[in-house]
């Protein structure tokens, strides 16, 4: 039995330690925000936050995250009460098929928590690990700018945990 900290809650799972975190989140904890895109850490659709850093949950064995704070997009807010990142992505209509978006939001959240006012170049460099096949990059970038502005304005990073 492995005890995890996910979106502020303790969750126990009975899985082999080598199981990718992505599978545990989706199949055992029913958190379907992070997606399987490539399984190789090359596309970013599975991105979650581990502590303050974005990581690829598809190549992270669940054994290494025991006791460390895992956050998925579900932890940024709810439909009724979206956090600043979610509001920004909705307001900018940044999703087309939506498959990359949860990963994009988590990486962007990680960036804004460490650097509340990143330059445009810094955002692009930071986000370059995440791919979008539909090509909504410009909307995603606008959404990240907007999220940053919202966070600075309200003085909150929107963490629910």
């Amino acid at each position: 039995m492995i005890r995890l900290q996910v979106n502020g809650q303790a969750r126990d799972v009975d899985v082999d330690g080598a199981t990718p975190l992505l599978y545990v989140l989706r199949d055992h904890l029913r958190l379907n925000g992070p997606k399987f895109g490539c399984g190789l850490g090359q596309c970013g659709a599975c991105t979650v936050l581990l502590g303050r850093e974005p990581v690829f949950s598809c190549i992270t064995p669940v054994s290494v995250v025991a006791g460390r704070a895992v956050r998925t997009v579900e932890g940024l807010g709810t439909s009724d009460n979206p956090g600043p990142m979610q509001r920004a992505f909705i307001e900018e209509q940044a999703a087309q098929c939506g498959y990359c978006i949860a990963g994009m939001m988590m990486r962007a959240q990680g960036l804004l928590e460490q650097n509340p006012s990143p330059s445009s170049m810094q955002v692009r460099q930071y986000m370059s690990a995440n791919l979008c096949r539909c090509g909504t990059h410009m909307r995603i970038l606008r959404a990240i700018d907007r999220a940053g502005a919202l966070m600075r304005e309200t003085g909150t990073k929107g963490k629910t945990t």
């Binding site: 080598a18 090359q42 303050r52 974005p54 990581v55 190549i59 054994s63 290494v64």
Partner: protein, 448 residues
């Protein structure tokens, strides 16, 4: 006052004055008058200068991260403090715009700027002094035709009293010697060309040769390995620990960031070197590769045997892929065994997908780790950098992509992975105190 005491005082004062005079004579350098250099140069000369600049990587040190090319401002950490690179654009007030060619040549060969100030040897004039007149002429033409940028470097942050530049005259007295490249008749023209470029403008030894306590390269141990920017520059001589020998063919590919079976690609400080060499004429890159391949010396039995073992293992694994988490090949004791077991699990979940034999399409055919040079080095420093930062091409370019694992593993977990990798894929001698290197790389700001 008694005559003997007076004459003693006069004697001591006389010696002091003589010493000071000698020191001034040693350290003082005249200023060279400012000039307005010609705005244009022969086009072919400038092109040749561009190629030499690429071999010398001027832009790498003389460009700040995110800054304008050649405008300086990049902090280079040394054991003595941080030195900031200067503006070498042809801006009159803040760059080289007032420098005559004579001033430029003096800087490159003697480490003295136009105004007569001594320069710190982090600027490798101890290597550049091998460059021929016509090559310095071409480099001058190239630099004088770049875009001028008005920018002044931040002040250096050096330990006391190294801020007092005349002290460098003493350093130079001991460690800087006039040099002229001597061709070796017993070697080919290509080898000689490679030696001239690698030892001179290419300044490979500035990183790959160890330095003494005063920061001077140890000419008695050429290419025995050194450090740069928080990475280890591996030994290229007979003490090289690389599993497969760096042959001329392998080096030609590696130095231009061309994928070649069985070896890694340039990472860390070698990446800008390889990017630059990709625009240098083939003949020059081949010449450098010929020379560097010869530095390793004649093949000897232990090395040949190890290379054969590595290749045989890779072939075996390709033909019948092992399970994703093979047990550590070396017998380990107590703690190391537990550490390796934990590391094996991380390897299976995080690395084997691409690096394990039998991996499929999309894995990018990542190298079998038995061929890894970083796992074979005396210290895990380089491997830690690679795991933390991954490998990626320059923005906008295609190339190999390895994910960055920064944030994924705690120090202890990373240590377990390193122990496993060394035991499974490296030479028989284990790494000692892996945590010390993990802390050094992660927590002492040596990341690029």
């Amino acid at each position: 006052m008694r005559t003997r005491t007076k004459s003693r005082i006069v004697g001591v004062l006389g010696v002091l004055v003589a010493l000071i005079a000698a020191f001034i004579a040693l350290a003082w350098r005249s200023a060279i008058d400012p000039v307005r250099p010609p705005g244009s140069f022969d086009r072919q000369l400038v092109e040749r200068g561009a190629q030499l600049e690429a071999i010398g990587d001027c832009n790498t040190c003389h460009t700040a991260p995110g800054g304008r090319s050649y405008a300086g401002g990049r902090g280079i950490r040394t054991p003595f403090g941080t030195v900031y690179s200067t503006n070498i654009t042809p801006d009159y007030a803040t760059g080289l715009g007032s420098w005559s060619e004579q001033a430029f040549v003096r800087a490159m060969r003697e480490g003295v700027d136009r105004e007569g100030r001594h320069l710190y040897p982090v600027f490798p004039y101890d290597h550049f002094n091998l460059a021929r007149d016509e090559d310095l002429h071409a480099l001058y033409a190239f630099l004088m035709t770049r875009d001028p940028v008005s920018a002044s470097a931040p002040g250096n942050d050096l330990m006391f009293p190294l801020g007092f530049r005349p002290l460098l005259a003493g350093w130079k007295l001991v460690f800087l010697h006039r040099r002229q490249f001597q061709e070796q008749a017993s070697q080919s023209a290509e080898w000689n060309r490679g030696a001239y470029l690698a030892e001179g403008i290419g300044h490979c030894g500035a990183c790959h040769t160890p330095r003494n306590a005063l920061g001077a390269v140890r000419r008695d141990k050429p290419f025995a390995g050194g450090q740069a920017e928080g990475w280890d520059a591996p030994a290229l001589d007979a003490s090289s620990t690389a599993p497969l020998s760096w042959t001329r063919e392998r080096l030609i590919a590696y130095l231009q960031n061309v994928v070649f079976p069985g070896q890694g690609i340039p990472a860390g400080p070698m990446l800008p070197v390889a990017h630059n060499l990709a625009i240098v004429p083939d003949a020059d890159v081949k010449a450098i590769a010929t020379y560097i391949a010869s530095v390793a010396g004649a093949p000897f039995e232990a090395r040949e045997r190890r290379a054969a073992d590595v290749l045989a293992r890779v072939k075996r694994d390709e033909e019948s892929p092992p399970s994703a988490s093979p047990p550590a090949a070396q017998p380990l004791d107590g703690d190391d065994r537990d550490s390796a077991a934990a590391g094996a699990q991380i390897y299976a979940a995080s690395c084997a997908l691409c690096h394990g034999a039998g991996r499929g399409i999309g894995s990018g055919n990542a190298m079998h780790l038995a061929q890894s040079t970083s796992i074979s080095l005396p210290s895990p420093t380089n491997l830690i950098h690679i795991i933390e930062d991954g490998v990626r091409p320059r923005p906008g370019e295609r190339g190999r992509w390895m994910p960055a694992f920064r944030g994924s593993f705690t120090d202890a977990q990373l240590g377990n992975l390193l122990t496993y990798l060394r035991g499974e894929f490296g030479p028989s001698a284990p790494w000692h105190d892996v945590q010390r290197d993990v802390r050094k790389v992660r927590h002492e700001g040596n990341h690029e």
